[in-house]
């Protein structure tokens, strides 16, 4: 059968949808669906909110179309089906000396999803966003495959990259892979005592991969303390990564109570010695630390969780500090909090990145946390920043449009590509992105 009617949800498990899902395995099957019953495409549903949902409508699950169509070992040019996961690509090609050019925090994200969200990684300050390394996208339109390149179809390309899937299902893409020394990571970890030091270290970092873990529960003098990780690829032999563990049930609420989180964060921070250290890590463990724990989203219990992620311009660093102060004061944050310096690189009209600092913090789905996220969104607007639609589940239409200055160009191109609104998702409806 082509369609399976089922319930599904986003990674944060707050929003869910009910409707028929198709999961084509061949291009010919996808072509038939695209022609007869056009619908938005979805990958591994690693978007936290409702970007990957189409309640009461149809959805095309692309995860079974995940093959390497062509690879040139001399140049690193890769043509791959959109359902392929970034972690799989890493696994196949890292031993051959090539890496996906940009890797988000989870290896389960698909190529199609990485394009539709124009994702960034720990190398954003140098390499830019994922879409900047995409040289061609094939969309499966009702009339058949449409090949889109940045040179020939500039507007459609920019509306597709970071375009939330609104220009049609991405069937395959060509990427330029990145040459790597080997498939291990040499990681320098440094304890950071407080906010100002953190920003200074991020600004000064010359590493290819840089990311900061931040203790979002630390207050006062310790506000903004964390661990700075700087890494380069290297060659060497370390044992293969251990098989992942699975969270078998929804955790009770107290698993992430303020005391537990505060205690955990303090211990996690002290784990790195005072003088810092350099360790060799398996490449998977560095890029996708949480993927080892399958279904870790269940740690937040049945009601799910939110991630707030914003980016603010460099000159608005103090606004970001004030936001962190508010988060730390609330006692609502979970241990998962990340601070990173972003470069200007972005490839689509609706791409998230801007030059500045990005902060991402997870919160359990409670009324107080939703209120706090609302305040943080407002603060982001004042700071001239923007929130990340791959994570968002709560914003309203008024907040978001103003954050994305190229919204009008995106809207116009999308309207032309999908005049009948076949590819609308719950996120697009919530934020009224397809209504004039």
């Amino acid at each position: 059968m082509t369609w399976k009617t089922t319930d599904y949800c986003g990674w944060g498990r707050v929003h869910s949808a009910h409707g028929p899902l198709a999961r084509p395995e061949r291009a010919s099957a996808l072509a038939t669906i695209a022609e007869k019953t056009p619908a938005p495409a979805v990958g591994m549903r690693r978007s936290y909110g409702d970007a990957c949902l189409n309640d009461a409508g149809r959805m095309i699950d692309m995860t079974r179309m995940d093959r390497v169509l062509e690879f040139d070992p001399a140049t690193g040019a890769l043509h791959i089906e959109a359902g392929a996961q970034i972690g799989q690509i890493l696994k196949i090609f890292a031993p051959k000396g090539w890496l996906p050019p940009v890797m988000p925090g989870t290896g389960f994200a698909t190529v199609g999803g990485a394009i539709a969200m124009d994702v960034h990684g720990k190398n954003h300050h140098g390499a830019g966003s994922f879409g900047m390394h995409v040289t061609e996208i094939t969309l499966m339109m009702p009339k058949g495959p449409k090949v889109v390149t940045p040179a020939k179809n500039s507007a459609l390309f920019k509306a597709t990259v970071g375009g939330l899937g609104q220009t049609g299902p991405i069937m395959s893409a060509r990427l330029q892979m990145l040459r790597a020394k080997g498939d291990v990571m040499i990681v320098t970890e440094r304890r950071v005592e407080a906010w100002n030091e953190f920003l200074a270290l991020l600004d000064a970092s010359e590493a290819t991969y840089t990311v900061g873990w931040i203790d979002a529960t630390a207050r006062g003098d310790q506000l903004g303390r964390g661990i700075l990780e700087e890494a380069e690829t290297g060659a060497g032999l370390i044992p293969p990564a251990k098989r992942g563990k699975r969270i078998p049930f929804d955790a009770p609420d107290m698993a992430l109570s303020p005391t537990v989180v505060r205690t955990f964060n303090a211990a996690y921070w002290r784990r790195v010695p005072d003088k810092g250290r350099t360790v060799v890590k398996h490449i998977d463990n560095f890029f996708f630390p949480l993927d080892k724990i399958h279904d870790w989203n269940r740690l937040y219990g049945k009601s799910g969780f939110h991630q707030f992620q914003c980016v603010v311009p460099i000159e608005a660093a103090d606004d970001l500090r004030a936001m962190l102060e508010r988060i730390a004061g609330s006692g609502l944050a979970s241990p998962l909090a990340v601070l990173k310096r972003m470069g200007p690189g972005r490839a689509g009209y609706m791409s998230f990145p801007m030059e500045g600092y990005t902060l991402a913090v997870d919160f359990p789905n409670r009324a107080a946390a939703r209120r706090l996220i609302g305040e943080l969104e407002a603060a982001t607007v004042v700071a001239g920043g923007r929130i990340y639609l791959a994570k968002d589940a709560l914003a309203g239409p008024d907040t978001v449009r103003g954050m994305y200055p190229e919204f009008a160009a995106w809207s116009k191109t999308v309207q032309k590509a999908d005049p009948d609104g076949h590819y609308m998702t719950d996120l697009v409806r919530r934020l009224k992105l397809r209504t004039a």
């Binding site: 059968m1 082509t2 399976k4 099957a29 093959r67 690879f71 089906e81």
Partner: protein, 245 residues
């Protein structure tokens, strides 16, 4: 010595996973099936994963004339030759009850087509004195049930054929393994209701490759189907005929 798998029915979900895993471990793959364009995508995937040989060739279980080209290509491949048969089709019992002319095709796809091919290629494998034949049957072939007995009968025929082939080829150094998968999460079962112990194709493919390396004779996968089917086989017919399982 390098091994090459001739994979019949290479567009099936499990075959695709199997081809990948075989490529990961350095084996070659000769993909045989009807959708050439789709198999070409799988072949590229296998080549990128390390398969020293990744080619496609036309195969149609209902057209025995298509077999000789495969035999010819296979004879030219050096090293160990192995065959894995994933061919099959499963019209619903209702469809076949309404149109009995569908039965012949179902039997050809699941039993006689593969049997003719294997009988033709057997001497080539025997002459080399090594290699493996993997035949994918089904737990549905273990007992005739009201909801699926023509498909089951075809698979049962294939099981018995494989048992005989094992008896014959074993003495020439070629191992034959019968695989009996339960319900698998494939395009064929997508959207079906009430599928017990539904398994992922990657798991089935990994079990098959491990079973083939370990020279298992009959492989139930996932393993839970071995006790389940043992019990189902033991139910006396006078009781079984009244059951709806």
């Amino acid at each position: 010595m390098s091994q090459t798998w001739i994979i019949l029915g290479a567009t099936s979900t499990i075959a695709r996973s199997f081809a990948r895993l075989a490529s990961d471990s350095g084996d070659g793959v000769l993909l045989a099936g009807r959708d050439i364009a789709d198999m070409q995508a799988t072949a590229s995937d296998c080549a990128a994963r390390g398969a020293p040989l990744a080619e496609v060739i036309a195969f149609d279980a209902r057209d025995a004339a298509s077999f000789s080209a495969i035999l010819k290509r296979a004879s030219d491949i050096d090293g160990t030759l192995s065959v894995a048969v994933f061919v099959g089709s499963m019209p619903t019992q209702d469809a076949m009850d309404a149109d009995p002319s569908l039965i012949a095709g179902t039997v050809t796809d699941n039993f006689t087509g593969p049997a003719i091919f294997l009988t033709m290629i057997a001497p080539i494998l025997e002459a080399r004195g090594n290699g493996t034949v993997v035949g994918v049957g089904s737990v549905a072939g273990d007992r005739g049930r009201i909801g699926n007995y023509i498909y089951g009968a075809a698979k049962a025929g294939f099981h018995t054929y494989l048992s005989g082939l094992r008896n014959r080829m074993g003495r020439k150094g070629v191992h034959v393994m019968t695989v009996k998968p339960g319900t698998v999460d494939t395009a064929m079962t997508w959207g079906m209701e009430k599928l017990p112990f539904l398994a992922q194709p990657e798991k089935i493919a990994a079990d098959i490759l491990r079973g083939a390396n370990g020279q298992k004779n009959i492989l139930y996968t996932p393993l839970i189907w071995w006790p389940v089917m043992t019990v189902i086989r033991l139910i006396p017919e006078r009781i079984f005929k009244k059951l709806q399982v």
